[in-house]
Amino acid sequence: MTSCEYQQIDPQALPTPTPAPPPHHGNDRDKREEPKRPRRKWQVFPGKNRFYCDGRIMVARQSGVLPLTLGLIVITSGLFFIFDCPFLVKHLTSCIPVIGGGLFVFVVITLLQTSLTDPGILPRATPDEAADIEKQIDNTGNASYRPPPRTKEVLINQQVVKLKYCFSCKMFRPPRTSHCSLCDNCVERFDHHCPWVGNCVGKRNYRFFYTFIVSLSFLTAFIFGCVTTHLALRAQGGKGLVFALQESPGRYPFNHKRVLKFLSVFSLISPSSNVPMLSLTQPPTAVELVICFFSVWSILGLSGFHTYLVASNLTTNEDIKGSWSGKSGEGVTNPYSHKNIFINCCSVLCGPMPPSLIDRRGFLPTDESVQTAGAGIELPPLAAKSEINVEVKCLDFAVSCTG
């Protein structure tokens, strides 16, 4: 009984890619496996995500406009602290930079958490699971064309809900789960894919997202208010509009006097609009004003919309599709709602934090890397793919043995 015989029947030896010819000793087996470091699961993750810091941080493949979002927030807040805070601290109170600083830190942290957290990705079905599901639904056995969309109906709180089959992940999607085409993952309680945040918003990071937009609306409203107060104080502090206009004549290289004259006409029509005029003399403040003015309405609107969704325990996806609005028929109500606004809010925002199901930092067990090869050569294959893989690997091994 030579040691070669052991290797012939050992499935673990089959897929090992050996750069050097494999030594034919039983006790060298662990030496051969040592150079091959165990791989982490994120390295073989099938979705379109990118991983950093050895799987600790994950982002979607397309980061969208996340750098823009971060840049806008940092620049606006930076300008606020540098140009407005000194004036306001002198003339009002020193609480202003403290509040502003706190809000800024809160916003940045929640933004990063929304972007870098697993939104609730469902790992794809294992080959055995997929085969089992196929067995259950395949009646005709006709595999020549893609069969019609498969659905399964379940009764949730006396409401009929259709579960769709996901062809990419090879499983029936649980309720409220949707497949994001940008990330190529099924995400639980899928809300939407947010380009501003560069990630999907789902079950695990919805509370971060909600906290982010609410705190951002507070921050933009706060900065907007402070900037307006700053300019108003400046106007009052000086001799009004004329003083403000004459304050720094040489600041602008271009001919701004015509622009100011034009705008001064506007100021006569609406005497309370000194603020736009004044802002021209403080360019950083002007920038902040413009950014905040446009952001505050859109962010406040978004916060209001999501507050409504949280209170009725809906997702953006369901709201857009009108799944529970009664369009499709009568008596269609949201089966997930607790029928109480307070309980809905608490369950969505303060509920228990579910764990990440993809276990990206876990190690691939050595026998799982050969899982596709089946548990052994002689075993009846549970999926056709595993049979083919075993044959290929056998052939490779045979070639390497003779070579």
Binding site: E129, P352, P355, L379
Partner: protein, 182 residues
């Protein structure tokens, strides 16, 4: 408890009991090969999720027909019901979860980086319970439960192993040996 199934050898193959790390590698290797042949995977049964009460984690307690000859119905149902209770406890929304949520919100959720959440604590209890069930009830009957967390909480995977009989035999196909099973 049925001892007909070679429990210890089976447990060693599945890593439930640590094998001898040192010693004669060649002999140990030979034994592992023998074990792989003696306890081979025949089939897998998947217990699906039960969505009748919403998206909370619950598994169906319907007894699968493939397990009829392997395990008593009551034992199986007890296991699934206990698992369902554990998951319900993990996902319960009540005083403690609200407190945890509010505290987390006030720290900008940074507390999740340092603290173990209640869900994770319950998951550890579940893992321990499953291992205990495997050792005491399922492995002696040639079955093995895989923790649902390793399958994305979609299914409870129960692997059915067939005992090939005596060591050294390398039969081409697995056969249900009714006489030796009980």
């Amino acid at each position: 408890m049925c001892h007909c199934f070679p429990l210890k050898r089976f447990q060693r193959t599945q890593g439930l009991v640590p094998t001898a790390a040192d010693g004669n590698m060649a002999t140990e290797f030979h034994n592992l090969q023998e074990l792989r042949h003696s306890a081979s995977l025949a089939n897998k049964v998947f217990i699906q999720r039960d969505y009748s009460e919403g998206t909370t984690c619950r598994f169906q307690t319907k007894f699968p027909s493939e397990l009829e000859s392997r395990i008593e119905r009551t034992l199986f149902e007890d296991t699934v019901k206990t698992l369902n209770n554990y998951y319900a406890e993990a996902e319960k929304i009540g005083g403690q979860s609200y407190l945890e949520g509010c505290l987390a919100c006030s720290t900008a959720y940074l507390i999740f980086l340092c603290m173990e959440t209640r869900y994770e604590k319950v998951l550890k209890k579940i893992a321990k319970y499953i291992q205990e069930q495997n050792e005491k009830i399922y492995a002696p009957r040639g079955l093995l439960i895989t923790d649902p967390i390793e399958r994305g909480m979609r299914v409870i995977e129960i692997s059915i192993y067939e005992d090939r009989g005596s060591s050294g035999s390398s039969s081409g196909s697995s056969s249900v040996s009714g006489s030796t099973a009980r």
